[in-house]
Amino acid sequence: MEKQLFTISVYTENNPGLLNRIATIFLKRHINIESLNVSRSEIENVHRFTIVARMTEVAVKKLVGQIEKQIEVIKAYYHTDDEIIFHETALYKIASNLLFDKREIQNIIKNSHASIVTVNPDFFVIEKTGFRKETEALYDELAPYGIMQFVRTGRISVSKTEMKISEQLKNL
């Protein structure tokens, strides 16, 4: 079975130590986490981990089973890319003088539908939200001019179908 990218969504109680427990499940099976995001969810006091990793479907099924087994995990799901709406956000910090010296940068920003978050005399910050390949493409275009700092968030996603977590919580 072929390895593919899966997005694993884990709904949990908000307790310290859970990140460690979930990370250990990946570590024990030698699976590299490609991106990880933790945030609040649509339900009060329920947190959501969004984890992206590459493996076979057989492996992801077992992995999700082990994650769900954790006492403070409410529910875990896995999805392929075509089952979810997903994005990442990247920030690019560029020297301000380039905005005037290298005017083509303005076109790059405009064509990539990125926005400028802040400008000050020393640097300006571009923000781009989209697929990995879009933030990568912008990186490649800006790199020749010099990027002072670059950072990208983990993937965030919502499923196309309903996950009905609130209902399940009521039943638990």
Partner: protein
């Protein structure tokens, strides 16, 4: 977590006293442990409550947790152990890992440095929450006195419910010393945790259909039957369906040895027929077992011809190792009771006879030479058989890890459930002596016999001190072949007899036992065996029996690592 209702009366006490009172609320009147700086306030309360809660001082924290495991395994109650921070806590880890893989309910309480010192590398500070996370069912650090009762309530609930397991509560010293408004309420639910998943009755019916249609059905049961208290339900199913049934190491004792449909053990050193016929059955019915690699051999050729039904309480076990056709999720007592009415009364005599034929081959090649040896040297099997005769198979049998463990599970007789205590999943040498102490305290009216190799014995023989201090009347049988026998066997079979670091120069075990005031006998010749065993079993006190064993005897049958179960070797 927790809910302190307003109408409930509260008392002002310190955290340490709350720990002891919470333990008592949960029915724990026995705990094993070892004191130290960060847990002293709790020990001070144990002193005050000693008429209500017995604390057993072991000689090492590992001894404390294995004793708690032995206690839990025979009694079905939650084992409790206590240790201080740092090395006290890390010394528990082997036992915690053992309890996790063998699904043993434990509550471990560790002291921790005061909360203002956390993260400062204070004296005896260790991050036991992180260290124990992968090997606990749940753990929590408590830094506020007020949180203690609810944490302990939750810990007991999680440890004993569903698929049981060890939990750890790490309590900072300031939380032990600080005051709280004490009231206790047992925990009966955690919203993110469903201990027993719902059983789908359609799956029960599908499983019954497969069982009724099968010509060669074969049951393999594990500890899930014992943990679910489903022994009677298992027996009823086996008898109604006329299904030959084999056990895993941890399933042993759920079905009496003498039951006509008990065909023996599966796995690496299991019986010949059950291994061979795993690959000939048309339906494999797994009950409360997890298809460990020691059971299955290589999965590529494991029961490929058969349909597979898997009964388990843990959904994560389904399809983990072996792909199932029908999974019946739920508590074994419940699921087995549910399926029984759908099962046709059947006999599979021709199929059962195939097991008996293989048994004859095994008797001839392995079992008779082991139990009635013609060679001069004593065998482990004949010692175990001699004990069977004296106890009528009614004893609790504890074994350590290695060759003697495999001989024990193969040859010890059982009439009663919860009588086989051994470290199955983790294979922890040093387990047996402390586990036997706990087992005796968990079933004081029963005979407890511990079989231990000369290697494993020396890993925890300091616990003779615990026997001396408590008077726990355990019968210790050291089967001494002056080798780390199981590793030596592998060296003989797979490493051209290069006996690297498996030769043991042993101390005088008799003097060692006598130093702890334990009656001790050494048997070197066959003619002395029966009398010594008789004396040991007759003794009302603890007893140490050392038997010198043929040095290079091997455990067979054997499924070599990576081989198929049907390639099981008789020699």
């Amino acid at each position: 977590m927790g809910n302190s209702t307003n109408n409930k009366s509260t008392e002002r006490i310190i955290g340490a006293e709350a720990v002891v009172r919470a333990l008592l609320e949960e029915g724990a009147d026995l705990a094993y442990g070892y004191p130290g700086g960060a847990i002293m306030p709790i020990y001070d309360e144990l002193y005050k409550y000693q008429d209500k809660l017995q604390h057993v001082l072991t000689r090492h924290e590992q001894g404390a947790i294995h004793a708690a495991q032995g206690f839990a395994r025979v009694s079905g109650k939650v084992g409790v152990c206590l240790a201080t921070s740092g090395p006290g806590a890390t010394n528990l880890i082997t036992g915690i890992a053992d309890a996790q893989i063998d699904s043993t309910p434990l509550v471990c309480i560790t002291g921790q440095v005061a909360s203002h010192l956390l993260g400062t590398d204070a004296f005896q500070e260790t991050d036991v929450i992180s260290i124990s996370a992968p090997v606990t069912k749940w753990n929590i650090q408590v830094t506020k006195s007020q949180d203690i009762p609810a944490a302990i309530a939750k810990a007991f609930f999680i440890a004993r419910s569903g698929r049981p397991g060890p939990v750890l509560i790490d309590i900072t010293k300031d939380a032990q010393l600080g005051e709280l408004d004490y009231s206790y309420e047992k925990c009966s639910a955690v919203r993110s945790y469903k201990p027993v998943p719902e059983t789908n009755i359609e799956k029960v019916k599908e499983a019954a259909e497969l069982m009724n249609a099968a010509k060669k059905p074969f049951i393999v049961f594990g500890q899930g039957v014992i943990l679910g208290e489903a022994e009677a339900e298992l027996k009823a199913l086996i008898e109604k369906g006329g299904i030959p049934s084999a056990w895993t190491v941890l399933g042993l004792s759920a079905l009496p040895t003498e039951h006509p449909l008990n065909v023996g053990m599966v796995g690496m050193h299991g019986h010949y027929g059950p291994n061979k016929l795993t690959n000939e059955c048309d339906l494999l019915i797994a009950i409360g077992m997890r298809f460990d690699d020691r059971v299955t051999g290589t999965l590529d050729t494991y029961a490929k011809q058969a349909k597979v039904i898997h009964f388990d309480i843990d959904p994560a076990e389904i399809d983990k190792n072996v792909k199932t056709d029908v999974a019946v999720i739920g508590n074994s007592k419940d699921t087995l009771a549910k399926i029984l009415p759908f099962i046709n009364e059947t006999k599979h005599e021709a199929w059962h006879n195939e097991f008996k034929e293989y048994r004859k081959i095994e008797d001839e090649a392995v079992i008779i030479p082991q139990l009635e040896p013609t060679k001069e040297g004593l065998t482990m099997g004949e010692v175990i058989n001699q004990v069977n005769k004296e106890t009528n198979g009614d004893a609790v049998i504890v074994s350590d890890v290695g060759q003697h463990q495999m001989f024990t599970v193969r040859y010890a007789d059982f009439t009663t459930t919860r009588s086989n205590v051994t470290s199955g999943g983790l294979g922890t040498m040093g387990f047996a002596l402390p586990a036997a102490i706990g087992a005796k305290m968990g079933a004081p009216e029963r005979e407890v016999v511990a079989y231990i190799g000369d290697g494993g014995y020396q890993m925890t023989c300091q616990e003779l001190g615990t026997i001396l201090q408590t008077g726990a009347a355990v019968k210790i049988v050291v089967l001494n072949n002056e080798f780390l026998g199981m590793v030596r066997q592998w060296q003989q079979l797979f490493f051209d007899k290069r006996y690297a670091s498996t030769v043991m120069t042993n101390p005088d075990f008799i003097k060692l036992a006598e130093a702890y005031d334990i009656k001790a006998t050494k048997v070197v010749k066959r003619e002395d065996l029966a009398g010594a065993v008789k004396e040991m079993i007759a003794s009302k006190e603890s007893y140490f029996l050392e038997v010198m064993i043929e040095k290079e005897d091997n455990v067979f049958p054997m499924v070599p690592t990576g081989a198929s179960v049907s390639d099981v070797r008789l020699k």
